[in-house]
C-alpha cells in the first residue's frame, strides 16, 4: 500500500518535472505552413499583402531627414537593398555599449538618438513599425542567423528559461503549448511552433502590422500573467531565444498571420 503510494508520487513528480522537449530540427515549421491557402496567397502577393503598405512607408522614412543632425538613414546607410540585406536576420544582436542584446526596433531607436539626434519612436507606432518592416524586408528569404554570436549565450539561456517557466493564473509556460502541443488546436486556431520568422507581421486579428513584442505580450496576457513592458530586457531575451531556435529558417517579413 505504502509502496504503491510512493510509486504514484514519483510518477506525479516526474510528470511535473519533465522538461519540455525542443522541436527536432527536421520538424520545424514556419507559422506560414499552418495557414489556409487564402491567407498564404495574401502573404505571397506583394500587391495583396497589407504589410507592404508599411514597407512603402518605411522606404519613404528611410530617405527623410530627421532630428537635430538633419540626417536621413540613407545619408549613412545609402541604399537599403544593399546595406540592410541580411541585417535583420541577425537580430536581436549584442550591443557592446549596452552590454546586452537589442532587437531591431531598439537598434533603429539607438541610431535615431545617437546619429540623428532625434527622439526615439514609441513602440508599435506606425513609423517604428514601418522602418522596422522596411529594414527587415531587405532580408526576406535570407536564413535567420540570430544567436551565432557567443556573447549572446547567457541571454539565450535566460530567454529559454522564461520560455519553459510556468507563470500566471493559468500556470502555463510558452513551451506547454509551443513545444508540447504544436500539432493541436486551441479554440479552433492552430497552435504554432513559436518560430518568429516574419516579424513585424500583419495580423488579420489586429488589422495592423505588429511587432514580436506585441505578440509576446498578447500571449503572456492570454495565460493571465502580468505582461512585461515594451522594451523590457525579459522580452528581448525571449525574442532572442525564439529567433535563435528559428536559426536557418528563411525571413518572411512582412508576413501575414490570422
Amino acid at each position: 500500500m505504502r509502496f504503491g503510494f510512493v510509486i504514484l508520487m514519483t510518477g506525479l513528480l516526474l510528470a511535473g518535472a519533465a522538461p519540455a522537449a525542443e522541436i527536432p530540427q527536421a520538424e520545424r515549421r514556419s507559422g506560414y505552413s499552418f495557414m489556409t491557402p487564402d491567407t498564404k496567397a495574401m502573404q505571397d502577393d506583394d500587391t495583396a499583402n497589407p504589410g507592404m503598405l508599411w514597407v512603402l512607408d518605411g522606404e519613404a522614412l528611410w530617405k527623410r531627414k530627421q532630428g537635430a543632425a538633419n540626417k536621413a538613414c540613407a545619408d549613412c546607410h545609402n541604399d537599403a537593398s544593399a546595406s540592410m540585406k541580411g541585417v535583420a536576420a541577425h537580430y536581436p544582436a549584442f550591443d557592446k555599449a549596452l552590454d546586452r542584446p537589442v532587437d531591431l526596433e531598439q537598434r533603429i531607436n539607438l541610431c535615431r538618438i545617437s546619429h540623428q539626434q532625434a527622439t526615439p519612436l514609441p513602440y508599435e507606432s506606425r513609423d517604428l513599425l514601418a522602418l522596422t518592416a522596411f529594414v527587415a524586408q531587405q532580408s526576406r528569404g535570407a536564413a535567420i542567423e540570430t544567436g551565432s554570436d557567443p556573447q549572446l549565450e547567457p541571454f539565450i539561456a535566460k530567454g529559454r528559461a522564461l520560455f519553459t517557466q510556468r507563470q500566471g493564473q493559468l500556470n502555463l509556460g510558452c513551451a506547454n503549448c509551443h513545444d508540447d502541443n504544436w500539432d493541436k488546436r486551441l479554440a479552433g486556431s492552430a497552435i504554432t511552433q513559436a518560430h518568429p520568422t516574419g516579424y513585424p507581421l500583419y495580423r488579420l486579428e489586429w488589422q495592423s502590422l505588429g511587432s514580436l513584442q506585441r505578440r509576446l505580450r498578447a500571449c503572456i496576457t492570454g495565460i493571465r500573467a502580468q505582461a512585461y513592458d515594451y522594451g523590457a530586457p525579459e522580452l528581448v531575451e525571449l525574442e532572442l531565444y525564439l529567433m535563435s531556435r528559428a536559426r536557418g529558417m528563411p525571413v518572411e517579413t512582412p508576413a501575414v498571420r490570422p
Partner: protein, 106 residues
C-alpha cells in the same frame, strides 16, 4: 502617410479579361467603438472607391463600417484599348487619395 498598392497588368491582348487589384492604407474606424472613458471613437472610413478608364467610370464601390482596415478591392474588366486607369478613394474627415496605372493593349 496613406499609400496605395495597385496591380494592373502592363500589357494585355485586346478582348482579354484582366484582373485589377487595389490595396489602400486606411484604419477603417467603425464609429461603434468607445474609449476607456466611454467616449465614442468617431467614425473614420473610406466611403467610396471609383475606377475610371480613360475618363469613363468602369467600377464603383460604396464602403461601410463592417469593412476591415486596409481595404483590398479587386475586380475584372475587359481590355479594350491602351490607356490609363485612375483610382480614387474618398472617405470621412476629408480623406481623398488617387492613384493611376497604365496598360498597353495589343
Amino acid at each position: 502617410m496613406a499609400s496605395a498598392l495597385i496591380n494592373v497588368p502592363k500589357t494585355a491582348k485586346r478582348g482579354d479579361i484582366i484582373e485589377i487589384k487595389t490595396l489602400m492604407s486606411h484604419i477603417m474606424e467603425t464609429g461603434y467603438r468607445h474609449t476607456a472613458t466611454g467616449e465614442v471613437v468617431p467614425r473614420d472610413i473610406i466611403t467610396s472607391f471609383t475606377c475610371r478608364f480613360n475618363g469613363t467610370e468602369i467600377f464603383r464601390a460604396d464602403l461601410f463600417p463592417a469593412i476591415a482596415a486596409n481595404p483590398f478591392i479587386t475586380f475584372f474588366t475587359r481590355a479594350t484599348d491602351s490607356g490609363k486607369f485612375e483610382f480614387e478613394w474618398i472617405g470621412d474627415q476629408g480623406f481623398s487619395e488617387t492613384a493611376s496605372a497604365s496598360i498597353i493593349v495589343e
